[in-house]
Each structure stands twice: as structure tokens, then as C-alpha cells.
Amino acid sequence: MTQNSSSVPAPGESAAAPAPAKLRLANVTKTFENAGQNVEALKPINLEIREGEYVVLFGPSGCGKSTLLNLIAGFEEPTSGEITLEGRRVTRPGHDRLMMFQEHALFPWLKVIDNVVYGLGWRPGYRFRPRLRRQKARELLKLMHLEEFARSPIHELSGGMKQRAALARALAPDPKVLLIDEPFPALDALVRARLYSELQDILVRTRKTIVSVTHDPREAACLGDRVIVFTGRPGSIKTEIKVDLPRPRDINDPQVAGYAGKIAALLEEGQRETIPGEKV
């Protein structure tokens, strides 16, 4: 297929030489111990993510997607195995990785713009340059169509606006890897579609390495270069799909829908015993 209308080559394309793995997960497992009871959340996971790649983790509820993201973010340590970012071992949260949570987690004591500025304050290049921080925050808010709300308190924003503000805050410090846990839940279809296109705009512009989690096969197909499909609990990688479509992709594009169908079918396959959303 030669569908190259965009100037930026998708990393999934075989034509370009594969970039070296940026993030490497080697035999990573996680078992939670709760009051003497062991819950095995993740079976050995092996995964390599390249620079500029958008990888979507997709699987039934409770299969350990959030756990894996927490491990990469450094909030938790793997029970066994190793996670390395550019060769260095991940043991705790750091400047090179940034997690965006399912809840927006914006700080209510700060105005919208100050939330975006916040993360910059700890970065070497911005440390003692408040004006530069503001300027960068303004640019990002503009990108998210939030410039009018820069000085608003958080509680005056709508749900979709909060998510966009959270995205601006996550992008501001320019982390090497952005981790997104179910970024756009409970938003109406229109807002979601807009967020997807905005996110892709940024992707094309900044070529950021992103790992995100979703329940929604369409979202996976729309955003991911690669979709990693997980088995039910304890989670392991069942298979993966390369989404070979040019960006930006429209969530309603039939080709995206085609991939979404494939992804959904993979999840169903042999998953009779773990229904997504079940309570264990």
C-alpha cells in the first residue's frame, strides 16, 4: 500500500529503518500482595516501543493495563523483570516519563494556566524563567483551544475542557514518553472526535512516544501505530496489530472502523470466561 500523502512517515511503515527501542519491557511481571493474598496481575510481558511510536494497550477490564502503565511510570516496581528507558532502568517517576490519568487530576488550587505552568517549574531549561514557562503554557492552551480560559479556576471548565487542560499540562514538560490511562472516558462522541484529532495534530507535530490504554477498539484503531491486545487476568500479551493508516485519522473513517472490528474480534476470541467489565 502506498498511501503516503502526509509528509511525516508513520513509524509503523516498513520502508524506514526501525528506530532503536526507546522503551523496553523484559519479562516484566507484577503480583500484588494484599493481606497475605497474592493477586497475579501480569504474566511476563515483553515489549519494545520505538521512538515516536504510539502504542495502545487494549484488553478486557482487570487485565492489568493500568498496572503496566503504573510500572512504566515508576509508581510501582515490577515483581520481576526489568523496564528500561533508553537503556536506563526505571525505578521511580522521573522527568522522562509523564502519566496522564483517567481522572483529569488537575490541581484545583491553581488556575488553568498555572496548572500547565506547574510541571515546567521543575525542568532544567525553565527553572528560573517564569516568563518562558508562561509563554509555553499559553502556546499549549491555544493549541487546545483553551486560551480564553487560561485564568479560570478548574471547576468552571466542562469535562472535555478539563481533559484538554490535562493534556496541555502533560505535554508542557515535553516528556520523552507520555503515558495515558483511558484518556477520554465519559465524553460525548463529538468532544471525543475533536480530542482525537487534536491529539493526532500534536502527534504529527511533536512525534512523541506515547503509550495509552483504552477499552474502545475504535479509539485504539484511530490513535495507535500498534495495538497490543491483552488476555484476561492475569494479563499477558495475546497479539498485536499494526495499524497501517495515514495520519491524521478520522474516528469515523471506514478503514479505522475496519481495524476496530479486527481488534474487537481479537479480544472476543477465546474470551468467553472473562467478560469485559465483570467484577471479580
Binding site: H95, E103, P108, W109, P173
Partner: protein, 259 residues
């Protein structure tokens, strides 16, 4: 035009107080209790007006409020400084919490004798009583507030790269603010009790002193009048100053369900 429910409630409240005054006046008119023990609302109002004209009232109110402002600021500061390590360390918390809960059960007036022993009749004794009455409430609220911070804020702060030294003031304290403000409000009320109690005995100015003078002079109208004023100022600051701040913070922190 239909009045809004809010306005209707206000009307009821106003009616309730009117009724209270009518009953008070009626009890007085029936002369069940001798009038030198039980003055009428008009006599009380008249006495307060007289006190005001004599230049006794306003300086006393100012004195009590000033003592509260200074004493309580110190108390709030100490409470925060003690409450923060309590909230951040389980060990410190388990040691200090029971102590402060115990201290909180002590009536404010119970601090007066010890303050007399230590400070004599000096003004610093009043500050001592105010501080001791309110510090525990602020400290406990601060530590509880910190212990109840939604973990998501702490995780967000960490992933955004907040260094450890910046956590207490950039994240932990603001995230705990709603509960801290509630504790500050309670602390203010307890401190107010303490201030008036201490003034009863150790002062030559202030609302407590006027209460004491009223008793010395067998002036029931003055005693009741000052009591009413003490309630009014306590309520005013509690409801309209601290209450407003608390409401705003809770709304901003998304802790109020929009009506």
C-alpha cells in the same frame, strides 16, 4: 411573583427571631421573674446604647477582636506547623493525635487558672488561653486533611516531577486545604470561647471584662447585652467570614455538588 425558596427560608428565620423577642418581652411583661434579674429586650438594647455612648463598648469589642486576631493567627500557625508532620508521618500522628484529642476535650475556660499561674494578670495570659484552646483543632484538622488527600493529586504531582522538598507547600498543604479550613473555623470558635473566658478574670477591657463588670454591678441588662453581642460577633465571623471562605474553597475543589 413567587419568592425563591432561599428567600422564603430567610423570611421564616426572621419570623423565628421576631417570635423569640416577642416571647422574651412577654415573659418580662408577665413579671414572673423580678425585672432586675430579667430585663426586657428594650432595656438590654438601651443599656448597650448607653455603654456605647460612654465609649466602653466599641473599644472592648475592638480589644477582644484584636486579641483574637493575634492569638488565633499564632495558634493557626502553630497548628499548621504541628499538623503537617502529623499528616505526613504515621508515627508522629499516632503519638500526637491522642494528646490533641484529649486537649480538645478540655473546656477553654479550664486554661484560665494555669495561665493565671504562669502569666499573672498580664495580657499574654489571654493569648495563651486563646492559643491553647484552638491549636489542637487546627493541628488535628491539618493532619486529617493531609491523610485524606485524594492520592491522585500526589501521583499527579510526582509524575509532573515535583521534587520532595516542594511537595509540602506546593501540593500537600493546598490539597488538604478544604479540611484545614474547617478545622480553622472550629479553632476560631474555640479560641473565641477562650478569649472571653480569660477576659472575665484577667482583663480591664474586652467583651469578657464587660460581662464581668455587669455581674459586679448586678446589671443583668449589661450581662445579657454583652452575651448577645458575643454571640453576634462569634456568629458573624464564623458564618460570614470563615463560612464564606470554606464554601468557596469547597466549591473550587469540586467538593460541593452543584445545587
Amino acid at each position: 411573583m413567587k419568592p425563591s425558596p432561599e428567600k422564603k427560608f430567610r423570611l421564616y428565620v426572621f419570623g423565628f427571631y421576631l417570635l423569640l423577642f416577642v416571647i422574651w418581652q412577654a415573659l418580662f411583661s408577665l413579671r414572673i421573674i423580678p425585672d432586675y434579674l430579667f430585663p426586657s429586650p428594650l432595656q438590654v438594647g438601651w443599656r448597650l446604647w448607653e455603654l456605647g455612648n460612654d465609649g466602653m463598648l466599641w473599644p472592648s469589642i475592638k480589644a477582644t477582636l484584636a486579641r483574637m486576631a493575634i492569638g488565633f493567627s499564632i495558634a493557626a500557625g502553630i497548628g499548621l506547623v504541628i499538623g503537617m508532620p502529623m499528616g505526613m508521618s504515621r508515627v508522629v500522628n499516632s503519638c500526637l493525635k491522642s494528646l490533641f484529642l484529649g486537649l480538645q476535650t478540655l473546656p477553654s475556660a479550664a486554661w484560665v487558672p494555669i495561665s493565671l499561674l504562669i502569666f499573672g494578670l498580664s495580657d499574654s495570659g489571654i493569648y495563651f488561653v486563646v492559643i491553647m484552646s484552638s491549636v489542637a483543632a487546627v493541628a488535628i484538622a491539618t493532619s486529617d486533611g493531609i491523610l485524606h488527600i485524594p492520592p491522585i493529586y500526589l501521583r499527579a504531582a510526582r509524575t509532573l516531577g515535583t521534587p520532595g522538598y516542594a511537595m509540602p507547600f506546593r501540593v500537600i498543604l493546598p490539597a488538604a486545604l478544604p479540611r484545614i479550613v474547617t478545622g480553622v473555623k472550629l479553632g476560631w470558635t474555640l479560641g473565641w470561647h477562650g478569649a472571653v473566658s480569660a477576659e472575665l478574670i484577667k482583663s480591664s477591657i474586652g467583651l469578657g471584662y464587660l460581662l464581668y463588670m455587669g455581674r459586679e454591678l448586678n446589671d443583668a441588662a449589661q450581662v445579657l447585652g454583652i452575651m448577645v453581642l458575643t454571640i453576634l460577633f462569634g456568629l458573624l465571623l464564623d458564618r460570614f467570614l470563615f463560612g464564606q471562605i470554606e464554601h468557596r474553597i469547597r466549591r473550587r475543589w469540586g467538593l460541593l455538588t452543584p445545587a
